[in-house]
């Protein structure tokens, strides 16, 4: 079975490019040129160099004694939280800004949920000297304010979005509208493995450095490249795509994707797309989508702004229906608890998104010899308000 994109831009029945004609020219240019550009020697060299010197890669693969003891398995943490700007998002924005320069674009737009992608975009724009506009739902502007301030300091303009549920989906709508209105000079840096082809594949490739490193690091540390489990959270699914990428065709590796259950999958306030969704089209691709019987998109909920999205990338939809990956979900409460646990046992405060991946450790029965890699996609600085509230309520 092939879990990669096919030559028409589909993962099984998912993917494609369902875009209005107004976006055709830009998307078609990307489709025709992205592989040629990102696989060229000069691009790869520049990309690798920046990942190393600017983003601080490779990110460590850290053996957690205390989690290993607690869960009776060998638990490794892939420390994407230690990257420059505090999450895996920088891997993608470095790649896309280099691409944007090569196709002659001078203005960058992005959507952001938690603000991590917004900060990572504002960061690479500052370095490249390109104008940067970030769309962010008004609800997220309020709950992730440190990131809003960072984006502004980096010179980006943050435009709060007041439509719909005022979260990630609506920010994405607004970024798409901006692109329709500015097709000539603007490149849209999408922050996850969503959107029309070629975005899901392009973003997955930029993030694939995560699993490339995991393989090399595991080899050095354990003598084997292949873990038994890789666990990652899924909003749109970019950190999971990166962590899974080089293991997709290694059937002995169990891929665990963790969605946000919000207040519970059946509570009406959830973002667990694979459990609540059906095939549908949003933001330019066919995937699994939370929607009403009439095909109207349902507004999702999660305490984590980065997971508060009613869809998942088409690659993950395919991994779900083919059962290549196992999809679990963690509630707000379970994620908060996992974040507090990691903080107090390992001195690492994870992002709320990553805390969902950590929560999955509670849900799986491991064998003592199992090698388990959890992708800690980001750090928790931005989430201190939510953590303090929770922490105080626990006293």
């Amino acid at each position: 079975m092939n879990y990669q994109i096919d030559d028409k831009g589909y993962y099984g029945i998912f993917g494609g490019a369902f875009i209005p004609e107004m976006m055709f020219h830009n998307i078609n240019e990307l489709q025709k040129n992205y592989l040629g550009i990102i696989e060229s020697e000069s691009f790869r060299k520049e990309f690798r160099q920046l990942l190393e010197d600017y983003a601080g890669r490779p990110s460590p693969l850290y053996y957690s004694d205390r989690l290993s003891e607690h869960y009776s398995a060998h638990i490794y943490l892939k420390r994407e939280d230690l990257n420059h700007t505090g999450s895996h998002k920088i891997n993608n924005t470095i790649g896309q800004i280099l691409l944007a320069k090569r196709i002659g674009k001078t203005r960058i737009i992005a959507e952001t949920g938690a603000g991590q992608h917004g900060v990572a975009t504002a960061t690479v724009c500052a370095r490249a000297g390109l104008e940067c506009v970030v769309y962010m739902g008004a609800v997220d502007v309020a709950r992730q304010s440190p990131n809003v301030e960072k984006m502004k300091m980096l010179g980006a303009e943050v435009r709060p979005v007041e439509s719909g549920s005022k979260t990630l989906k609506d920010a994405t709508n607004e970024a798409i509208r901006d692109w329709i209105n500015n097709p000539v000079d603007t490149h849209y840096i999408i922050g996850s493995v969503v959107g029309p082809h070629p975005y899901p594949d392009m973003v997955a490739r930029f993030q694939s450095v995560i699993s490339e490193e995991i393989r090399q690091q595991l080899k050095v540390k354990t003598g084997r490249e292949i873990p038994d489990y890789v666990i990652a959270c899924v909003g749109g699914g970019s950190n999971a795509a990166g962590a899974f990428y080089h293991f997709l065709n290694e059937p002995q590796v169990q891929l665990i994707a963790v969605e946000a259950a919000g207040k519970g999958v059946d509570s009406g306030e959830s973002a667990a797309t694979t459990q609540l969704g059906r095939p549908g089209v949003l933001h330019g691709s066919r995937s699994l989508l939370m929607q009403t019987a009439d095909g109207q998109v349902i507004e999702p909920y999660s305490i984590s702004a980065g997971l508060d999205y009613p869809g998942i990338g088409p690659m993950h939809a395919n991994l779900f229906v083919t059962q290549r990956a196992r999809f679990l979900s963690a509630t707000d409460e379970q994620a908060l608890k996992a974040a507090l646990y990691l903080s107090q046992k390992e001195g690492i405060i994870p992002a709320l998104e990553s805390a969902h991946a950590l929560a999955a450790l509670e849900m799986i029965t491991f064998k003592p010899d199992d090698i388990v890699v959890v992708n800690v996609s980001g750090r928790g600085d931005k989430d201190m308000d939510a953590y303090l509230k929770y922490f105080q309520s626990q006293k």
Binding site: F18, V184, Q296, V297
Partner: protein, 257 residues
């Protein structure tokens, strides 16, 4: 019976006035009144919008009307019910315009069949790409005598325009500038140059210009470079207010006489 869009375009070559409105707005049951009154007031063609929660090609006015229409309870199912007897008293061409997801969830076969039973003549589905239409949808649309209308924009290259021209059996929807829907209030030189460039391609399909057409002046300017034009957001804005919906339609349309 011949498709009403095709017959209209055969009979009338210029100043075709097409009006777009969102079904379910301002009130859930206004659909039939708006259509009837538009025909009485001289509209040549009507585009009935199926509201969607995430209309990415639309500006603020149509976004708002879609949100209200959905809150009012509009759905494709209900729209077909409302339009069940429309052909007893309305004879101008009717087009359904909406995003692909609600149509997919309704079921493409069923959707096309219901269109034919209801007397719908065409569809505009902005996020259904040409290539997907050709491969997966064309057959069922044509079997049900539906004209699917494609968009072109200032960015669409000639080769693609020719392909769209060849595939079109109604008219070509020319998006007037690189933008989402919404009234701009004027037509500028850059747009005129684009209109003229397309005119010079001598396409076989008639063309209507839409997006940013808001009144008699912009309608007139656009129409002089095509077979007519489409008004959407400006009409929807005119439907605000407490007066009976028919009088609001009439007031808006009076200008075009």
């Amino acid at each position: 019976m011949e498709n009403r869009i095709t017959s209209l375009l055969k009979k009338k070559k210029e100043n075709i006035l097409s009006i777009y409105f969102t079904a379910g707005y301002p009130a859930l049951d206004d659909t039939v009144s708006i259509i009837t009154e538009l025909e009485n007031c001289g509209a040549d063609l009507i585009e009935i919008g199926i509201p969607f929660s995430d209309p990415v090609a639309d500006g603020p006015v149509i976004q708002r009307s879609s949100e209200i229409a959905l809150r009012n309870g509009m759905s494709i199912q209900l729209l077909f019910e409302q339009l069940k007897e429309i052909r007893n008293h309305v004879s101008i061409p009717l087009i359904l315009m909406g995003y692909i997801n609600p149509v997919m969830q309704f079921g493409i076969e069923d959707f096309c069949l219901r269109c034919r039973e209801t007397g719908i003549d065409g569809t505009i589905i902005p996020d259904l790409p040409l290539e997907v239409y050709e491969e997966e949808y064309k057959e069922v649309f044509e079997r049900n005598s539906l004209c699917n209308i494609f968009l072109i924009t200032p960015q669409t290259i000639d080769e693609r325009i020719r392909k769209i021209d060849a595939l079109s059996n109604g008219f070509i929807y020319m998006v007037s500038s690189s933008s989402t829907t919404g009234a701009k209030g004027s037509v500028d030189q850059e747009q005129i140059a684009y209109f003229a460039r397309i005119q010079d391609l001598n396409l076989r399909s008639p063309r209507l210009i839409g997006f940013g057409i808001s009144d008699k002046a912009t309608f007139g300017r656009a129409s002089s470079y095509a077979n007519g034009a489409i008004i959407g957001s400006a009409f929807i804005s005119a439907l605000k207010g407490a007066e009976p919906v028919k009088s609001k339609v009439k007031l808006f349309m009076d200008e075009f006489h």
